[in-house]
């Protein structure tokens, strides 16, 4: 990646936080969305380039069954969300990957679909994993209704009234996606085929555009159903109620392995964030505009924390921390910037001692908010050429490889894997619709089919194996004798050049929480209202408070 080095940015004086601080599960599990989140990157582009949106097709019947097309036209290309609305019996509604039917199914089409395209898609998209899409499609997705809020909103609008604000805030979305597949899944276009388009170069822009258009579909659908039931007296959602509705997402373990399987990508995401923080901390003054923007961001975060609901004990505790910390941050901002020669760095250092991890990572997001001109360009560094890291350096000596392990993986070598709790679990893929799962090594079958996500242990084993090789022997010779270490050698060589490539915790420990991995990734997407339903399952909200595609353009957020 092209990242400014510590000396060549004019404002640069503060180092990035070290990976030992950043890449710990407890801190990753406290991540908040920032202006570098992928959703924000999409919104900035759509607004700065003046994308135009329309809905050329709406064929939904009184039962809410049919299809619709939403079109997004950028400066050089058009993308269309093709939506299929279904009449799903309650007993089939499941957010799990093992589900076989949904309230609505979607694909993002590359261009404007013809009627032949729509016919082909209507025979496949509703089947999701059991159907096939083609290189003309960029994503495949589905969503389920929030039954309670959907019924409430349809009922109220049908009788000419607005829904209850409290009901809206308690759920926050009308539908939640349960998968948004991209990157070549089920026959869709490969990432490599679209990555050079400027509008899709940043990570997950296809998925973010898909979900943003789905948000429009959810409010259009609920108003349609209300009009079908209530006739001419039916109301439409007030703009304030619309604004408060995002799109939900419900996800399980399938999301967690991704950031472990893509170490260079993870590095680039985290390095861009850390570089942004370091740039802001290096600033020598705080303009009145920046102070005002910081206070605005703080107020928005306080409101966000106030209407962030969860019943999970872990999240309840985190929300208590966050709300308390936001109070402390508010107090501290009353004296900001003061007379400091380095006001932003002082603020950050104060936060490191005064705040919990929740508050620190929230402060991170707040401090970036006034500084778009300084940090937004870093979103161009968040993609990764993973093929460049694929080829091993066979000429490296075993001594040098050992040295990498002893510096970059010192956290892994420090784990005593003779203690059963350090390898209490194993990651595997279930035969059932290939759902990723996490097993208990003592009591569950299948540990011999463990996935290589136990990075700490693999690093540990590699280090042990290298002790049998001369320091001057080459890695090529070593791997010829010990091919089982090839996977970890590849990672270690990449991690030596990419400091934020590894999650620096034991991913098979008894106490490991998969939701920490998921929260980090979801925050990078731009998700809010993280609401765990177990230690392996979570719901979140996307685009809450954002404009809608079919609305007149607002100023960039």
């Amino acid at each position: 990646m092209h990242m400014t080095s510590p000396t060549d940015h004019p404002a640069r004086a503060t180092a990035r936080r070290p990976a030992d601080v950043v890449m710990r599960l407890a801190r990753m599990g406290a991540a908040h969305p920032t202006r570098l989140s992928f959703l924000r990157v999409l919104m900035r582009r759509v607004q700065s380039e003046g994308w135009r949106f329309d809905r050329p097709l709406w064929e939904i019947d009184a039962q809410g069954v049919g299809r619709a097309v939403y079109r997004a036209r950028g400066p050089s290309r058009t993308y269309s969300l093709v939506a299929f609305a279904h009449d799903l019996p309650d007993d089939m509604r499941s957010d799990r990957v093992i589900a076989t039917a949904w309230d609505a199914t979607f694909t993002l089409f590359d261009g404007t679909p013809t009627s032949a395209d729509l016919a082909r898609l209507s025979a496949n998209v509703p089947l999701q994993e059991a159907g096939r899409v083609s290189g003309s499609e960029l994503s495949l997705s589905r969503a389920n209704r929030s039954v309670r809020l959907w019924q409430h909103v349809v009922g109220r609008l049908a009788s000419g009234r607005q829904p209850d604000r409290a009901e809206i805030d308690a759920v926050g979305y009308l539908m939640r996606t349960t998968a948004v597949y991209g990157s070549g899944k089920f026959g869709a276009a490969d990432r490599v085929d679209i990555a050079e388009r400027p509008e899709l170069a940043a990570p997950f822009q296809v998925e973010m555009l898909t979900v943003w258009l789905i948000r429009q579909f959810t409010v259009d659908m609920v108003e349609h159903m209300a009009a079908m039931r209530g006739g001419p007296g039916a109301a439409r959602l007030s703009s304030e109620n619309r604004r408060r509705l995002g799109v939900g997402n419900s996800t399980g373990l399938g999301m967690a392995p991704f950031i472990v399987r893509h170490p260079v990508l993870l590095n680039n995401w985290m390095m861009a964030r850390e570089e942004a923080l370091a740039r802001v901390r290096s600033l020598r003054d705080a303009s009145p505009d920046a102070v005002a923007a910081l206070l605005d961001a703080w107020r928005a975060a306080r409101d966000n924390a106030a209407n962030w609901r969860s019943e999970h004990p872990l999240q309840v505790e985190k929300l208590r921390d966050l709300r308390g910390d936001l109070g402390r941050i508010g107090d501290r901002l009353e004296e900001f910037p003061g007379a400091s020669a380095a006001p932003w760095d002082d603020l950050w250092r104060w936060g490191e001692t005064a705040l919990t991890l929740e508050g620190q990572e929230q402060l991170f997001a707040l401090m970036l908010e006034p500084h778009g001109a300084l940090v937004d360009g870093l979103s161009h560094c968040m993609d990764a050429d993973e093929t460049a890291a694929f080829r091993l350096d066979g000429a490296m000596t075993c001594g040098d490889l050992r040295a990498i392990l002893e510096t970059t993986y010192d956290w892994a070598l420090a784990i005593d894997f003779s203690r059963p709790e350090t390898m209490a679990r194993f990651w595997y893929v279930s035969e059932e619709k290939l759902e990723p799962r996490l097993g208990d090594r003592q009591s569950d079958d299948g540990a011999e089919r463990e996935q290589p996500l136990c990075i700490a242990r693999l690093a540990h084993d590699l280090h042990d194996a290298l002790s049998g090789s001369a320091a001057t022997a080459t890695v090529a010779e070593f791997l010829l004798r010990a091919p089982e270490h090839r996977f970890m050698v590849r990672r270690a060589q990449a991690a030596a050049r990419h400091p934020y490539a590894e999650v620096r915790d034991n991913l098979i420990d008894e106490k490991m929480l998969p939701i920490d991995l998921m929260r980090c990734k979801l925050a990078l997407f731009g998700a809010s209202h993280f609401d765990p339903r177990s230690d392996k399952w979570v719901r979140i909200s996307l685009f809450r408070g954002a404009p809608y595609p079919l609305d007149p353009l607002d100023p960039a957020p």
């Binding site: 069954v65 279904h86 009449d87 799903l88 019996p89 309650d90 089939m92 957010d95 799990r96 093992i98 076989t100 039917a101 025979a123 509703p126 089947l127 059991a130 159907g131 290189g135 039954v147 990157s183 070549g184 899944k185 089920f186 026959g187 869709a188 276009a189 490969d190 990432r191 399980g252 080829r391 091993l392 066979g394 000429a395 595997y428 893929v429 279930s430 035969e431 619709k433 290939l434 799962r437 996490l438 097993g439 569950d444 299948g446 089919r449 290589p452 080459t474 890695v475 090529a476 010779e477 791997l479 010829l480 091919p483 090839r486 996977f487 970890m488 339903r533 177990s534 392996k536 399952w537």
Partner: protein, 240 residues
Amino acid sequence: MRKRPAHASGRTGPAPRAAPDEAALSGSEIEALCAKAARGAGMAWGLAEEAGFAAAWLAARGVDGPRALADHLAWAEGRRWQEICPTVSPGAWKAPGGGVLCPVALGATLCDFCTLPDAALDEDDGLGVGPVSRPVMLLPFLAAMAERLGHAITLSWPGGRLVVATSGGMAGALPALAGLARAPLTLSRSADPAGAEPVATRQDVSRDTIDRLDALALKTTVPSSASSRADAGAGGSDND
């Protein structure tokens, strides 16, 4: 792809179609399926990744890499690594006991050694390797070597030859090579050929190949149980 579940459709969904004779898999699907199949056949994870890379590289160039891999794995499954991995020495790489080499193990090892003296490729004598199972599988690795070394590589076998350019383009008897089940090979340094451009016409994968790879990939997964199914989900109902 695998085990398409019986479609318990919602009231409005279409019925699933019968599986066609071939499928237009995306590059990432080919890579993932082939890596899983290689792992299922017993390859170490890091080599299974190489197998996925190689099959997808070939498929993106109109060569049926998935089928070549499936054929190779059918032969190699259950054989010990030491039997099918090369013994490295300057001028000649053979399998111990003169057996047949795994093209993925050989290709990955060639890439690992490509800047070291043991893999030196002369223009005259070259490096003798093999015999090699499904030698077409070696091409993606030779392309990576050519790029790394900055010169083209000629692959010769009894009755044919093919040049892999630094661009990844190929010139020579590709169809003949793709049809070889096994052959002794010679690798030598050569000049970039004229007219060797990468072609980008992905080939569909036959149902038979997909089924064979799926059967191997299935060996990387764990049969479901009621407790494993329950443990992976949320605590409550999704009808809230």
